[in-house]
Each structure stands twice: as structure tokens, then as C-alpha cells.
Symmetry: C3
Subunit: 348 residues, 3 copies
Amino acid sequence: MFVMNTWYVACSLADLDALGDKPLGRTICNEKMAFFRDGSGKVVAVEDFCPHRGAPMSLGKVCKGQLRCGYHGLEMDGTGKAVSMPGQRVRGFPAVKSYAVVERYGFVWVWPGDQSKADVAQMPVFSFFDDPAWAYGGGLYHVKADYRLMIDNLMDLTHETYVHATSIGQPEIDETPCDTKVDGDKVVLQRHMEGIQAPPFWRMAMQANGLDPEAKVDRWQICRFTPPSHIMIDVGVALQGHGGFDAPADKKAYSVVVDFITPETETSHWYHWGMARNFKPDDAALTDSIRKGQGTIFGEDMEMLERQQANLLRWPERKLLMLNIDSGGVQARRVIDRFLAQEQQEAS
Amino acid sequence: MFVMNTWYVACSLADLDALGDKPLGRTICNEKMAFFRDGSGKVVAVEDFCPHRGAPMSLGKVCKGQLRCGYHGLEMDGTGKAVSMPGQRVRGFPAVKSYAVVERYGFVWVWPGDQSKADVAQMPVFSFFDDPAWAYGGGLYHVKADYRLMIDNLMDLTHETYVHATSIGQPEIDETPCDTKVDGDKVVLQRHMEGIQAPPFWRMAMQANGLDPEAKVDRWQICRFTPPSHIMIDVGVALQGHGGFDAPADKKAYSVVVDFITPETETSHWYHWGMARNFKPDDAALTDSIRKGQGTIFGEDMEMLERQQANLLRWPERKLLMLNIDSGGVQARRVIDRFLAQEQQEAS
Amino acid sequence: MFVMNTWYVACSLADLDALGDKPLGRTICNEKMAFFRDGSGKVVAVEDFCPHRGAPMSLGKVCKGQLRCGYHGLEMDGTGKAVSMPGQRVRGFPAVKSYAVVERYGFVWVWPGDQSKADVAQMPVFSFFDDPAWAYGGGLYHVKADYRLMIDNLMDLTHETYVHATSIGQPEIDETPCDTKVDGDKVVLQRHMEGIQAPPFWRMAMQANGLDPEAKVDRWQICRFTPPSHIMIDVGVALQGHGGFDAPADKKAYSVVVDFITPETETSHWYHWGMARNFKPDDAALTDSIRKGQGTIFGEDMEMLERQQANLLRWPERKLLMLNIDSGGVQARRVIDRFLAQEQQEAS
């Protein structure tokens, strides 16, 4: 069961456009979809099922803005309606579902639920994507685990000490208590470490930002969850005693870890991760190097999450602990549960 | 549920003999079988199960016309009866099933159903296999899809335009209406295209046959279904205005696409495909080149069928369309359903 | 259903220690376990489940004798009790199961059942492991088949003739009747072949032992099953007429095939195999060469067992034959069934 009446990241615009005249097939919240650009160049999404003989439309081809089935040539538009087929009158053909789509921040966003409720005004707002003072780089992982395990993972960064020991982990994370606040549908978890040595990833960032990598720093992690499953994490280090997160730009290295977590099935999800940084935005080589580093770090979580999922499937009756460090994930799941309950109530 | 009291192609004689003294294991209509040559050199088929400890007989070895189990040496003959085992009296051993087999046209044919009804007189007749004016080449694919999806595929060649765009597809196929006739248990679907340019595969065939590949042609496709699942397709091109299918031999390039479709399980089948041609029958290099080309073309259908199958399993309640172009498959399935009903009635 | 209140081989000490500071995860009788050395260097086993968030403990690390979860750093001791976690009081944490372990004969032995009944006095005794006149080499296979199929396999060596025709098989095995005796919980099956030519493996062993490999020999196989699933097989050849198994050491080549068969799930098991020999115990190259040969021979059984298992799953209702050659396996299964019944009775 997923929150359906909301916007999820379906794919990056770059991944879609890299396919040329081929559509992109993707399952989101158990809905099989095919994405393509219609005649006006707008990205649209239809059910991945040809009403003729059930072939997947995502095996087809985009021709002049219509999606043509690769089996017998039925063409449909972005509303899922058949518009032509060689030698056939298609007026009576049943349409397949279509899904509301928004292109924003370099991504295709899709509303998998009740289409009559699709509302662009509900799109989340991320200022750094459109700000030239910021640069962004990211990637995509397919993870065979419940998407909520990824939320747990990201709403508690103590795991960095163990999973990412050689890059961003450091013992001080464990030693510093975190603080969780719920503000309506938002959950914010933060931890501030003062007067510490920066770990390898941040030493690299300090150097890139013209700071002495060996200097003592104040480090912060501020995880911001918004429903259904977007997590933005303010992360950074400032030279010690300059105000930490509030330090002036030339005294800190500051980024936002971007996490768009999109359910595929009950036990798998698509994970679009990235980093937006507000220093050296024009340094493409730095963007690339950070993306590679982040990709490696985030890849370290995959086996853990997939095997945690396997363990939970094996012992479904076991209750997990909910410690203070888990409060971010616990509160985020409460928000999700509230949304689910509301959708069920509206549906009945 | 399959039509059981009928002849299916189990394997080619060449594939069986290539194994030397090893039997060939194959599942047909959910029956696990082991094929081998008995003492008289005749191909026989027994259940792939050793009555001793359940080992698969197909892991064994053929010794002097008996199939010897590779585990403890039980030997059975082609009737499934144990004939010897070291240090044992085998008289009381339970026999396993055996299956009626016919060797014909280069293939091993098997009757998976009620053995008391196995009737060689019911073997289908294909004159071109034994005619020296014809040559034959073919191959085998294992397809993870209901065998009836392959029947649909072959009884409607409009898909050539989309699936096989670079070899035998051409827009005129779509534009020319087809005609379907049911004659008892046979279904014949045909399409005749006049005054067109030959597509790449047929230009090659025209050249091989001494015709100008750039000349305008009349092209035909005549799909002939006979139960349970054999489809012979007369295909060819003749120089325009010479009578098409009825044109004299020196004015045309003419072949029969041979399709033996054998169910393995509900969602998989064995597909023996080939081409019989009535020109240059002694040109082995041409046979080889056509087989390679056909293998590539037919391989293009595999992903489509397997993903269509996956879609149908996911949406079992959806009704598919039955258009005029689908009438060949629809009629063939009706024949199959009639045979199934008859078998059920006879069984009860 | 497995015999649970007994000792199984979990892994070799060498395999555990080769992992350094990583624990070893293994499923035994459907119990997922993580093995590691505690602070005193003793091997311990805990359930492979972190009580915090369900991560597998086997993905963690051993730190000063505690097993530290690789996700959030919970540390547990060998009793499955959490002993520390950064920033947490762990006193109230639920413990996970732990399992009694014995280190003996180069292996880790585990008691998967009722821990209150774990009893070192019930450990089986194998004198040759600690005797300097003997050498041992072996290996491990993971087999996708019910562990009892491996017992059947080893308690009837007539299969050597067919499965291992090029190494230890020879027709005389089939031709010589075997004798099965049940002595309490032990089953002993033996076969003595007199005045035969040694097969390749034994010719090698004779040469290594200073005997003429072409000489006629008396050969023996004495399979000794003890519950739950240990099989020791006395195997060897002696120069003809010197008493066979009882011949003096300089007239024979004598070994014990060691088989520790540990259920993983209902349809898979871990198979620790090896050979203990009482000649040239210090010849490490010979040990290695025998291990390689045995590994190859025993590998020949894997496909047969796995496909036999598949056949039995497919035809669950079929009764298998129980011939004289099967009596070893049949009797061994009766002992197992008696143990199972007893455990059930004790549990209720």
C-alpha cells in the first residue's frame, strides 16, 4: 500500500532523453508506466499495456509524438487513447490509463493515484535546483527493499560511522545526540558536532572550497523529510567557531544531499540520489568527482538494505526497536501512515 | 491444459543424434520425457524418472539400445520397463510411462496423451520435406510464453512491419487487408500485395533465384494452421503481373516458413522454425545463409512474446481486442478449444 | 523437520578464521546463524538478526570479541545479548538466540535445537582426527537437495560404478552383494570384493603407499552412519589374500571417507567431505592431490542429487523402490525418523 495521490520522481529528464525515440518503461507504486514526449515535446505517461494484445508499450517507439506499439503498430497519444492503427478504426478501442506528469528540477514527476486529484500546486519546492549559485549531480539505484527502509536509513545518519567508515563516517556522529522535530507533515532531524576533525569526504570538499582540510570544524547534518518520501539533508562543515550551519559562505563547505525515494513494489524501490552544493557551481569536474564519490558511498548501503529486507521477510513477527536515533524514520513513517489512512478514508 | 492426443515435434533427429550415447531430456505438455534410440535404432521416449530412486533418466546413458540410469545402473527399454539392474531382479519393478514416437521429416514426433489412441495415420503430411526440388533449414528456440501467443504471432503477419522492419517488414503489409477462412480444423489466412518493391530478405532471395531484385513484385503470405499447433506459411514474391503465387517457377522466389510449436508448460514452449524453399535446393551455403537470416528475424519476436506473456500474467482480467488482423489466431484458438473440449468429453 | 537436539558441523575452523574480523553467516536446520570468536577466542554462534532494526549480524564485524552490527553499531556478545551501542542504554534490549558450539576435529559444531539440552558428552568421537599417524584433507559443497538424498547416496556405493566410472567405480561393486546391520542408532553397510584389479584412484593410493598398483587386491567399503547425519566410510585395498580390511598396514592402502551432512533447508544442505588416511600422513602434497581428486569425484554427484530432488518435488506422490542396495539409506532414515518422533514427543 502506497501513498498514491502525490508526486514521485519517475526518472531524470536526462535518462528519458538518452533513449532517443524509445519510451522509458518503469513501475511506480505497482503501476507499470511508459514515459515519452508527446507531439508538443511534453513528457507524458501511459499504462505500459497495449489494449490490442497486451504487448508492453515500452517496447515500442515514439513517432511524431505518438507512442507506437512495437508489435502491430497501434499508436496512442499521451492520454492513453488509441489514435491510429494500420487498417483499423480505433475509435472504439478502450483507452489505457494515463498519469499526470510534471517536468521540474531535471526530473519527471508522476502522480500515480487518482488523476482527478493531480495538482501541480502540490509539487514540492526546492530552491537550489534553479539557483545558479548551486550545482547538482546525482544518480539512480534500484534497491530490492521496501522504500521505507531507505527512509529509515537516511533519517538516521549514525549508520555513517559503520557503513561509510572510510568516507563520511566518524565516531563523533555516534557520540553526538540528535534532535527530532515534527512540524505538520515535515520531520526534521539534526545533529551538530563541534570542534572535530573533518572526515575524508569533507576534507576533500574543504580543499575544493579553499579551506584548510586539517582545520578543526563544526559539522552539521539536518535531515528534512517531506511526504511522501523526499529527504533533503543539509550537510556541511564550517571552520570551528564561525557559527556552524550559519557560518558565512567563505568559512564553510555546504551541500544538500538530495534523496528522491520512489516505491516500485512492496519490496523494491527506485532511489534517485544526488548532491547540490553552493560552492564552485561551475566546476563540472568537481561535480563529477563528487557524484562518483557519492555513488560509491551510497552503493555501500545497498547490500545492507536488501539483506535487512530479506531478514524482515523471514521474521515478519519480530518487533524492531525504536531508539532515539530511529526517531526520524519513526516520525516519517507516522506521517506516511497518516497519509495512507486519509487516502483510504477518501476512497471509501 | 493442452491438446494431448496428437503429434507434436519433440526435437530434430539431428539434435538427438548429436548427443551420441546420451539421451535427450525434454518436457512436452508438462510431461517430462527422455528420448533415445533403442536396440533396433528406433527413437523411443520414456518418462524422465527412474523408478528406483527418482533420478532423471536423461542424465543416463544409452547402452546397446537400453537407457541406463546414471545413478545406480537400472536399465530400461523403450517401453519404460526395467530390463536389468546389477544384482537385482527387476521383474517386479514398476514401469514408467512411454510415449509413441514417429520419426519423420527430420524430426522426432511424440504423442503425449492417451497412448492407446496414438495413431500414425494422424501424422500431418508435408510434401516438400521429401521432395528433392526443395531444400530445408531451420532451428529451435525456447520461448517463455504460452504457445498460443506464438500461434497468434504467426497467424498475423502484420507484425512484420514493426518487429521485423529491416528484413521482411514493409508498410504494404499493413495496408493490404487479409482474408481468413476456416476449413474444418484448418485455418487459412492470406494476404496478397501487388506491384510493390520487395523488402530486403526477398530481394536477396530474388537475386539468389536469378531475378532482378529491384523489379516490382506481387507478394503473398498464406498462413496455414493445422491442429494442434503447426503453421506452414507460403511466402514469396513473383515478378509483377505473372500470377503471384501461381506464377511459373522462373518468375518467382517461393518458400514455406515452417513452424512447429510445442507446448512445454502453460507459460513456455519449444519453437522449431525453418524454411523450405523450392529454388536452388542443392545450394547448401544458401540454406545456411537463409537459416541465419531467419534465426535473426525470428529472434526479434522472442522479447516481445515473453514480455507480452508477463503483461498478461499481471493483468489476467483484461480482455484483449480481436481485430480482423487477429482473426487467424482467434480461429486457430477456436479449433484448439474444440479439440480440448472433445478430449475432456472423451475422458469423462 | 530436522533432528534439532544434536551436533552438526557448521563450518571448518579454517573457513571461519580465513574471514579475519568478519563473522560467518550460515543457515543450519532453517536457523540463520552468525559465527564468530568471542573475547576469549572461543567460537560462538548467535542468531543472524540485529534486534535493533533486523540487519544481518553476519554483515558486521568482530571487535574485541563482540559482534558489532554493520548498520548502527550495536554490539552483542556470544550469548546474543546486546552489550553496547553508541549513545544508547542497551540493558532493556531483547537478546537474540545463541547456540551451543563445540570446536573439535578442525570443525565448528553447533546444536541448533533446545539449548538447555546441549550436551558436549553427546559429541561423536572420531579417533583418526587426533592421531598423528593419520592425515586429513577435505572441502565443502553446498547442495540443493534434501540432506537425506546425500545420506542415501553415501550409504549405497553401487552408484560409484555409474557416477564415478573413471575414478573409483568398477563393475565388481555392483556384482558383490552388500550387507547391512543396524546396531542401536548406528547403521553399518559393508561390501568386500576379493581378487580384483584396483580402480584408478586406488592404484594411485597403492603407488603412494609403496605397493604395486597392478597387483590384485581385496577391496572393502564399510559405510558407518551415526545420527543425525555423519557417515564415515572405511575404504581401501589390500594385496590379495592378506586379510583385506584386517591386513597389516604395509600390505594395504586404507582411508576413511568423512562425510558431515548438515541440513540447511528442507531442500538444501551443506556437505563437508574429506578423507583421513593412515599412510604418509606428513606428505602435504599427497593430501592436496587426494583432496583435489576427491573434490572432483564428489562434484560428480551434485547434478544427480539436485536433479533427483527436482524430480521428487515434481512427483511427490511416487513411491521409490527400496532394494537391498538401498537398505543402508533406508535404515539410516529409520533412525532419523525415530529421533524426530522422540523430539516431538519430548516437545509435547
